[in-house]
């Protein structure tokens, strides 16, 4: 359920940026998801497959980069990584600070532009929503 809401939010953001960049069809999305967010890649994929038919996302690939949890321990000073959510330093057992793994963002997306469209430059405030990087 949690993943459905997150994917919905991602699709809204991307749709807005796609429109600003005259993209008619999205072919690839890359998300970065920290393990501390407890958003499961399989459930994100499932939600995406369920929501994309009949939209500009139909047939698109969703790529998810998972980021490990990184802890820094104020007691022993060690930096460690963890697969599962924890607050405790695996080295000394003290309460550690979570310094990585809370990421939850859209890295980039790729899409096909509307056909027969003249290049209009980046007029309009929405163009600032995304910076085109390289040609199609």
């Amino acid at each position: 359920m949690h993943e459905l809401g997150l994917i919905q939010a991602a699709m809204e953001e991307i749709e807005r940026a796609a429109r600003a960049n005259h993209i008619a069809r999205v072919v690839k999305i890359r998300l970065v998801v920290g393990k501390f967010t407890a958003a499961l890649p399989d459930a994100l994929q499932f939600a995406f497959q369920a929501l994309s038919p009949g939209t500009i996302f139909e047939g698109a690939t969703l790529e998810i980069e998972e980021v490990n949890i990184r802890l820094r321990c104020p007691s022993c000073g060690r930096e460690t990584t963890a697969e599962d959510i924890t607050y405790w330093c695996p080295a000394c057992g003290a309460r550690a600070e979570v310094v990585g793994g809370k990421e939850l963002y859209i890295d980039y997306f790729e899409g096909d532009e509307e056909e027969g469209l003249e290049d209009e430059g980046s007029a309009g405030p929405e163009a600032a929503a995304g910076q085109p990087a390289g040609g199609a």
Binding site: M1, L6, T37, A38, I106, E110, G130, Q131, A133, G134
Partner: protein, 221 residues
């Protein structure tokens, strides 16, 4: 064409949450979060009955389909706006923004936002509230904070409800308190029973000081 966004997933929600925060002004906005059946509505009913002579209180009731909770709250004679999420498992900032169009914030001191019963999703969605208050009931079992840490990490207060059931369960209150404090060392824990009223005075006292802090902060800021 490739478009690099490097943008937070919930950016749009965060923008609306910021606008809500401005609209709340001097009103203390409290986002109540828990599993289904933990007792959010019962605690609200008690709280309203105890504090409505002291404070102007309004309520936004989130529910997936029904108006049952809103009807219970309306029975206490305070302003209540129902938000049906029609299937969504949490309130988001824009739902609260629409509810705010229906509520007169002038004359209010506290606005309670009762979220949809769910320990997972509401934690991710900022509504613009001043604080989240998590309700954890003895009947659910003490493993919930460890299994759903995000809510407890975000919350300012935990109300451990249904304390009248403690003698009948394996709920290990001191251990659960330790686990909650490990997740969030700053959190305040009050053990209460909405059924008997036990322990609620400490929660009311916390609310009184939170209202005072909010009002003095918005007077000077």
């Amino acid at each position: 064409m490739k478009v690099v966004l490097a943008q937070k997933l919930l950016r749009a929600n965060q923008q609306v949450a910021r606008e809500n925060r401005e609209r709340f002004g001097r009103v203390l906005a409290v986002n109540l979060v828990s599993s289904p059946g933990a007792g959010k509505t019962a605690i609200l009913e008690r709280t309203i009955a105890a504090l409505k002579g002291e404070f102007g209180i309004g309520v936004i009731e989130g529910d997936i389909y029904t108006t049952r909770d809103a009807e219970r709250i309306a029975g206490h004679g305070v302003d209540v706006v129902q938000v049906n999420t029609t299937g969504a498992c949490h309130l988001d900032a824009s739902m609260v923004a629409r509810a705010l169009d229906e509520i007169d914030l002038r004359g209010l001191d506290i606005l309670f936002i009762e979220n949809v019963g769910n320990l997972v999703c509401p934690a991710e969605f900022d509504l613009g509230e001043d604080c989240k208050v998590a309700v954890l009931s003895v009947a659910e079992g003490g493993d919930k904070p460890v299994k759903y840490p995000l809510v407890f990490q975000e919350a300012r207060v935990v109300l451990v409800n249904k304390s009248d059931l403690l003698p009948y369960t394996d709920f290990d209150l001191p251990a659960v308190e330790r686990e909650i404090l490990a997740i969030n060392p700053e959190i305040e824990i009050f053990t209460v029973s909405a059924r008997t009223g036990a322990g609620l005075e400490a929660w009311y006292a916390w609310l009184r000081s939170a209202v005072a802090r909010k009002q003095s902060a918005s007077a000077t800021g």
